[in-house]
Symmetry: C2
């Protein structure tokens, strides 16, 4: 089936927020085997919203709207759809009770406009809102299936996943669903990966193969249509094997997990611990690691030795190494090595990572923007040092340096 995703909200047209809802719904639709042909953004305007719904209905089997279900007079989506398909708006009593309870439990007077969030269209299927007030709507009119979801992602996503997806599946009885698999890569750039898979990408039919960059890493999604998981796996297998033959050394996961997640799994399975010494990444490496729930099992913490003072004071890098005309300097193999080595003693961890470099925008110590040294320490061994020459702005260099450090650790861990 063909779908159109319609996002309603003047804040999108003004660029105040990014339309991440469209991306989420696009991915979910692909997973359900629904082809999205158009995405549209329209403001909080009755006439233009009506025109948009009419147009979408004329060219899609499924129209998924987000936004405009809130309590204010600007929230028009239900009113406009009701007018379009000639249904009354009625109160959804379970949602109304929930809203009343919310206000009374907090001792706040409920104003009339809050009742609007409990409205639904007569004869439609309500979509429950587990994380907010506004009830969603699912209804079929003249062969087009309409889904109305709230705008805030924290309400929209669970409503889609928990209720709308099942409703859509129930109306799509003849479709063969898509089956897809994500391969995630580390230690290889997007262009290099695409170059090595160029013929596969250009000649793709079924399965499809889609490379893309993601949070400083590279991933590939393989997709086909299959009645069940087993059939899907079998249909993807030859292509996946061909990819593994060419670039398998860089594949760290065959599911959608960031590199730090996989590293924490490896550390945990080996009962080993990690600490980090960050200069140019300035806390980002730790932040990535601690974004993973349960990271405290293997990650001890670390030191943000942003200044030479702290490199010396907290990690015993001699000032003669850090400063002076003949010194290697803070951005050097020597410093990366001493940071990684001394950190092991300071924190008592089994592994250590150090990162020191020039994130920019200006050069430092006469060294160019993008030059970064990564130190990888292991208890009982000499630290290994890796020299990186990264491109991009300050944020990108920080991210690429952090991901490169994680990649070196992953390579050691998987083989040890």
């Amino acid at each position: 089936m063909k779908a159109e995703i319609v996002a309603v909200g003047t804040e999108l047209l003004l660029g105040q927020i990014v339309n991440t809802n469209a991306r989420f719904l696009a991915v979910e639709c692909a997973g359900l085997g629904i082809d999205v042909y158009y995405q549209t953004v329209v403001g909080d305007n009755k006439d233009r919203l009506l025109e948009t719904l009419k147009l979408a209905a004329s060219r899609a089997d499924i129209v998924i709207c987000t936004g405009g279900l809130g309590p204010t007079q600007d929230d028009l989506t239900k009113d406009v759809l009701a007018a379009y398909i000639g249904r009354e708006l009625i109160i959804h009593e379970p949602s109304m009770s929930k809203i009343s309870d919310f206000f009374s439990s907090r001792g706040i007077h409920m104003v009339e406009s809050n009742r609007r969030q409990a409205l639904m269209l007569e004869g439609c299927d309500p979509l429950l809102n587990d994380t907010g007030m506004a009830v969603g709507v699912a209804v079929t009119y003249e062969g087009t299936h309409f889904i109305l979801l709230p705008g805030p992602p924290k309400e929209m996503k669970p409503m889609f996943t928990n209720y709308a997806a099942a409703w859509l599946s129930s109306v799509m009885t003849d479709e063969v669903p898509l089956y897809s698999k994500m391969l995630r890569f580390a230690g290889i750039g997007e262009s290099s990966l695409e170059h090595q898979l160029m013929d596969l990408i250009q000649d793709q039919q079924d399965p499809t193969i889609a490379p893309y960059a993601k949070e400083g890493e590279v991933a590939i999604r393989l997709t086909t249509r299959a009645r069940d998981v087993e059939e899907g796996k079998q249909k993807l297998l030859p292509l996946e094997q061909e990819i593994r033959t060419r670039v398998g050394d860089f594949i760290y996961a065959d599911e959608d997990l960031p590199l730090e997640h996989v590293i924490l799994q490896l550390l945990s399975s080996k009962m080993m611990t990690l600490s980090v010494a960050e200069s140019c990444t300035g806390g980002l490496l730790s932040d990535l690691i601690t974004a993973v729930p349960g990271s405290s099992q293997s990650f001890l913490g670390g030191i943000i030795c942003y200044t030479n003072l702290l490199k010396n004071k907290l990690l015993q890098v001699p000032m003669e190494v850090l400063e002076g005309d003949a010194a290697p300097g803070a951005v050097s193999e020597e410093t990366a090595s001493l940071l990684a080595q001394n950190l092991l003693n300071t924190t008592g961890s089994d592994w250590s990572l150090s990162v020191t470099g020039v994130a920019g925008p200006g050069e430092s110590e006469g060294k160019p923007v993008g030059l970064v040294y990564v130190g990888l320490g292991k208890r009982g061994a000499q630290p290994q040092i890796f020299t990186l020459k990264l491109s991009g702005n300050r944020d990108m260099i920080k991210l690429r340096a952090a991901k490169s450090a994680l990649y070196q650790l992953w390579k050691q861990l998987k083989d040890s």
Copy 2:
């Protein structure tokens, strides 16, 4: 004038990338006084792209397209526009020379498809690409102004800023441009801010007032139309003064800067330094601070004391405080206070921030998710402790805790 933003690319429809181009262009259009009424996303399909351009031309004065200018057979935007408005595609010689030079300087054989990136429409205005190959297009047809830009943001943004914006201004001679001002807030939530400004938001006409959440903070944009900056300032002044009367204590900047940027400016102007001790924020606070270029002038670094071991070993929090049935525990006022105090001695900074709490998803030490203690240390004074009860998922709690810590420091700094 009315504009429509059209993003071309199947990767958007599949949700492989987020449409950040639309957001960038929406903001730029607002700045030029152009009203965006619709945003559309369409795939790499000739028929649907043509329909999309026709529809956009029928309802907008300006149609800005991104994507589909590359070398492959999927890159159709120029071909489709040329067919639609009846123009030939011709080679833009300066772009062709640049492409040839690129390939010959690298000793790579140029394939025929690369010539496609130098194509433009006969009689159109070329838009130069300072950061890539594909030349852009600006052309007026039957009263509609078309702009074709490349898809990659690093090519699209400079082409718009450096060339397309001036071209648009040249065709919009009668428009009064928009003038807007951003007020950024800390220490107040979005709903509380909106509640205190409710009547101003609901009754807005000119200037308009738009509140929105941004990177864990809250901001308000005031906008009017004005011939010049002075007129703009004068037109915004009464509304800005009313807002300042009500919630001025929470305004930390009247330009679009994150809180950490303003704090670094204050520290630098006072010649003072900062270090941080992070437990539950796990490096995020340092990462936010070091995202600001030049932060090393005032930010010394810090310690990610993610485990009790490091709280004890590196920051001398006694194990009796951290562990044991009767102990306050790692998530406590006592620990936050000791971290902030001892960090001053360890790093020698003038100010210190400590953060310890429960980021979730599970509780810790029997304490609930979202409970966070912030310690603010100042050389020669007792640390101040702030207790936070935050909501949201793990990422949001980390971000809100980091921003709350920064807010407490900012309050002290601005008055000291």
